[in-house]
Amino acid sequence: MTTVVEFRGVDKSFGGNVVLEGVDLVVEPGFTGLIGPNGAGKTTCLNVVSGYLRPDAGDVRLRGRSVVGTSPTTVARLGVSRTFQTPRLVPNLSALENVMVGGGRHHRLGHIAELFGLPAARHDERAQRERARDLLATFGLGAHPQRQASGFPIGSQKIIEVARALLNDPVLLLLDEPAAGLGAEDVDTLVEGLNGWTRAHPEAAVMIIEHDLELITRLCPRVAVLHFGRIIQAGAPKDVLRDPVVVEAYLGADVAAGD
Amino acid sequence: MLQTIVSGLESGSWFALLGLAIVVVMKAADVPNFAMAEMGLVATYVGISVAGAGAPFWLAVLATLLFGIVLGVLIDVALMRRLSRFGHFPLLLMTIGLSLALNALIGLIWGHDPRSFPAPWSGASVGVGGGVEIGVSQIVSIVVGLLGALAISAFFRSSTGAQMRAVAENRATARLVGVSAGRLSAIAWGVGGLIAAVTVMLQAQSALVSTLSPTSLIIYGFVAATMGGFTSLIGTFVGGLVLGVIQQFVGTYFSTAAQFSVALLVVFLVLVLRPDGFTRGVRLRDV
C-alpha cells in the first residue's frame, strides 16, 4: 500500500475546547500541505500522528498500522520524523553532532556498546557521521559542520533540524512551519534539498504546515485546509486556494484578528 | 489520643504554613527556597531580642513580622533576581548557600542555645474533660495556621494575587499585558518572609527553637508543599496538617527516631503515586 498516513474520524478536545473534529485525511507519498488559520489544529494533527497526543476518537494509521496510543519513541522508530516551530537543537553540540542525534530508527546496538565504545559502535558512528555530513551539505550547511549549533542564525538552525529529521530515513516527515523566519535564499535551499530528498525517497511522504502559501503552492501537489478543527477542503493548491469556503475561512480569521 | 492529635495538628500547622510560604515564593521565583526556615528564625530571634529588651509582647510580634517581610524583599532584590536567567540550578544553590550563611549568622549573633518566644498565654492550658489538657499555645498555633491559610487564599483571589497567578502561568504574556514581574516578585518574597516569620514564631511560643530547628522544619515544609503539588494552597495546607498528625502518631506509638524517616517516606510516596500532588481547590497554576 502506498498511502503513508490515514486519519479517520479523528477527534481531540482539551478540557472543553474542541481542537480536532472528525478529521479525515489521506496522505500519499510526496508533499502534502496542511494550512489553515492559527489555532485551527494543524500542530495538533502532527502531535497526534507522532504519538504525542492520543485522539479521543478515530484512528490514525501509518502504512496501514494504527499508531493510536503508541509512544512517540516507537512512532519515531517506525519511521516518523518531525521538526518544530521553534528549533529544538542541543545548543552546545556542533551542527554535525546535532544531526547525528537523529536516526534513532537505526539504533540497534545497546547501551553497553555505546558506553564502552566497542568496535561495532565506532563503526556505526563513522557511518552516521558520513551520512550526517552529506545531509548537511545537501542543505547548504556543509561548510561549518563543527560550529556550535547556537552559533548559527535561527534560519540555519531550522535547516539543521530538518537534516536531523532526515537522518532517520523517515517514511513520514512532519515539518511545522519550516520556512517561518527564513530568508529567501534559505527557503530556496530548503526547497531544493527537500525536492532532492523526495526524489531519492519516492515512497516517503512529507506533511508541511505552513503559512507561506506561495511555498505551499510551489512544493505541494496536494493541500488540506483545517478550520476550527475540521478539514474544510482538500485538493490541488490552485483549486483549494480559490475555493470560496477557504477564502472566507481565511478572510474571516483575518477580520477577527484585525478587531 | 486527643493529645496526640492536637499536638499533631499543632506541628502540622507549622509545616503547612511553611509549605505555603514555599509555594508562594515558588510561584514568583520558580525556586524552592531552602532558606525559608532560617529566614523565619532570624525574624523570630529579632522579635525575641526586642521582647528581651523590655518591649511589650505585641510590639515584639510586630517587629518579627516586619523583619520577615523586609528580609524577604531584600533577598529577592539583592540576590535572587539577577540569577533568574541562569536556570534553576544556580537559584537552588543560592538558597542553600543562603540557608548556611543565615544559620551561621544566627549562631554568631544569638548563639546556638534553644530559645522560646514568651507569650502572655505561655504555660496556660485548657482542660477538655477526661483529664486531658491542651496547651493554649497549641490552640494558638492551630488557629493562626488556619487564619493564615485563609488570608493567603484570599490574597490570591485579589487582583495582585491574580496577577501573580498570571505571571506563574506565563511570564512572557503577563509582561506584555503590563504586569510588573519585578514588583510581584518582591511582594511574593515579602509574603514568603512574613509567613516564615509567623511559622517560626508560632513554633517558638509553644516549643523551643534553635539553630538546629530549621533543618528539619524546612524538610517538613517541603513535604507539605509537595503534597500540594507546589500549586494548590489547600493541598499544601491539608498536607501539612496530615503530615503533622502522622508524625505525632509515629512518635508517640512507635519511635521518635523514626519520625524523620517517616516524613521522607511520605514525600517519596506522594511523588511516586501522585506526581502532581493533590491539586484541588485554589490552584495557582492550571496543570
Partner: protein, 353 residues
C-alpha cells in the same frame, strides 16, 4: 502524558526549557568535536598530568598527599554527579547517599573477607542498582520534584545506614581496614590506588560521553520528552544516567573510606552534599577538567576555612553565594568568556599557525 502535552506546547514558547541545564548546558560537552580533533594533544597532556601526579608522594609531605588524594576522590564523585546534573539535566540529590553506599559497602565487604579491589566494582554495582530503583519513579518527575524526591530518598538511605547498627556500627561509625599495596607505605599506597582508580574512571567516563551516548543524553536533557521524536527513549536514558552516576559515586565512596579510615553516617549528610553541589556547579560540565577544577576549589576552600572554627559555616555559605552571584555559569563559563573574547581568539590564531 501531561508531561508530553506540556512539553509540546512549551516548544513554541521557550527554546531551551531544561531544568538544571541552562547554565550548565552552556558548558556541557563544549565542542566535543573540537575536543576529539585535538585528541593527540589531549592525550599528551593527560599523560604528563598523570606522570606529575605519580611523582607527588615522592616529593610531598603526608598532609599534601592526603589533600591531593581527597581532591581526586571528590573529582571522581563530581564526575558522576556531573553526568547526572550536567549531562542528563536531572538535579538528583541522592548522590551523597550513594557515595555512602560505596564507602560502607566497601568497608563491610572488606570485613567480610572480600579483597578491597573487588569491593570497588561490587559496591559500584550495588549503588547503581539502588540508583536505578530510586530513579524509576524519579525520572518521571520534572525539575524540583525530582530534586526533593531524591533528596528525601538520599536522606532516608543515610538514616537506614544509621539504623543498621550491627552491620554499620550505627551512628558511632565503623573502622575501615585500609588496603595496602605490598611494600609501599600506607599513605602513599592509598594515594596510588586512588590515582589509578581515578584515572581509570576518567578514561571510561570520557569515552562514554564523547560518543553517541553523551550526545543522546544531552538531547534528552535539552529536548525533554521531545527527544522521543528522535527515536530515543528519554526515560530509559535518564535511568541509565542515574545508574551510572550511582556507580561512579560509590566507587569514589570506596576510595573515600580508605582515606578517612573511619566513617560515620553524619559524614554523608548535607555536610557532604552541599560541597558536592558546589563542586559540580563550580566545575561546570566539561568531561575532563570540570570535575577536577570543582573538586580542587572545594578542597582548597575546606582546608582554607579549617582554621576559622565556628566561622566556617558562615564563610562557606558566603563564598557559595558570592561564587554563584558572580559566576552563575560556573568557573568554566569564565574560561569560555576568555576564550570567546578577542584575547582568546588571538591566542587560537597564534596556535593554529
Amino acid at each position: 502524558m501531561s508531561e508530553t502535552t506540556e512539553a509540546v506546547t512549551d516548544a513554541t514558547l521557550t527554546p531551551s526549557a531544561s531544568v538544571g541545564g541552562a547554565s550548565i548546558a552552556a558548558n556541557a560537552g563544549a565542542g566535543l568535536d573540537a575536543q576529539r580533533g585535538s585528541g593527540l594533544r589531549k592525550g599528551i597532556v593527560a599523560v604528563v598530568a598523570l606522570a606529575l601526579l605519580f611523582a607527588v608522594p615522592f616529593v610531598a609531605n603526608a598532609y599534601l598527599v592526603f589533600v591531593i588524594s581527597l581532591t581526586m576522590v571528590y573529582a571522581v564523585s563530581t564526575l558522576g554527579f556531573n553526568l547526572l546534573v550536567g549531562w542528563s539535566g536531572q538535579i538528583g540529590l541522592a548522590h551523597a547517599a550513594l557515595f555512602a553506599i560505596g564507602a560502607y559497602g566497601s568497608a563491610i565487604g572488606i570485613d567480610a573477607g572480600i579483597p578491597f579491589l573487588v569491593t570497588i566494582p561490587l559496591a559500584g554495582i550495588a549503588a547503581a542498582l539502588l540508583a536505578v530503583v530510586i530513579g524509576f519513579p524519579a525520572v518521571r518527575l520534572r525539575g524540583f520534584f525530582l530534586a526533593i524526591a531524591t533528596l528525601a530518598l538520599g536522606m532516608a538511605i543515610v538514616e537506614l545506614i544509621t539504623f543498621a547498627r550491627p552491620l554499620t556500627g550505627g551512628g558511632a561509625g565503623m573502622n575501615v581496614t585500609v588496603f595496602a599495596l605490598p611494600g609501599i607505605k600506607n599513605s602513599a599506597s592509598t594515594y596510588f590506588v586512588v590515582l589509578a582508580i581515578a584515572a581509570i574512571m576518567f578514561f571510561l567516563v570520557r569515552r562514554a560521553l564523547v560518543g553517541r551516548f553523551g550526545r543522546t543524553l544531552q538531547a534528552v536533557r535539552d529536548l525533554g520528552p521531545l527527544a522521543g521524536s528522535l527515536g530515543v527513549a528519554p526515560l530509559r536514558y535518564r535511568l541509565v544516567a542515574f545508574g551510572l552516576s550511582g556507580f561512579i559515586a560509590a566507587v569514589a565512596g570506596t576510595l573515600y573510606a580508605q582515606l578517612q579510615t573511619f566513617i560515620f553516617p553524619a559524614m554523608f549528610g548535607m555536610n557532604l552534599l552541599v560541597p558536592m553541589l558546589v563542586m559540580v556547579f563550580v566545575g561546570g560540565a566539561g568531561s575532563l577538567w570540570g570535575p577536577l577544577i570543582g573538586a580542587a576549589f572545594a578542597v582548597v576552600l575546606i582546608e582554607f576555612f579549617q582554621d576559622l572554627g565556628d566561622q566556617q559555616a558562615i564563610a562557606y555559605g558566603l563564598v557559595l553565594m558570592v561564587v554563584i552571584a558572580l559566576l552563575p555559569g560556573g568557573l568554566t563559563s569564565l574560561f569560555r568568556s576568555v576564550r570567546d573574547s578577542r584575547f582568546g581568539a588571538r591566542l587560537r590564531r597564534g596556535r593554529q599557525r
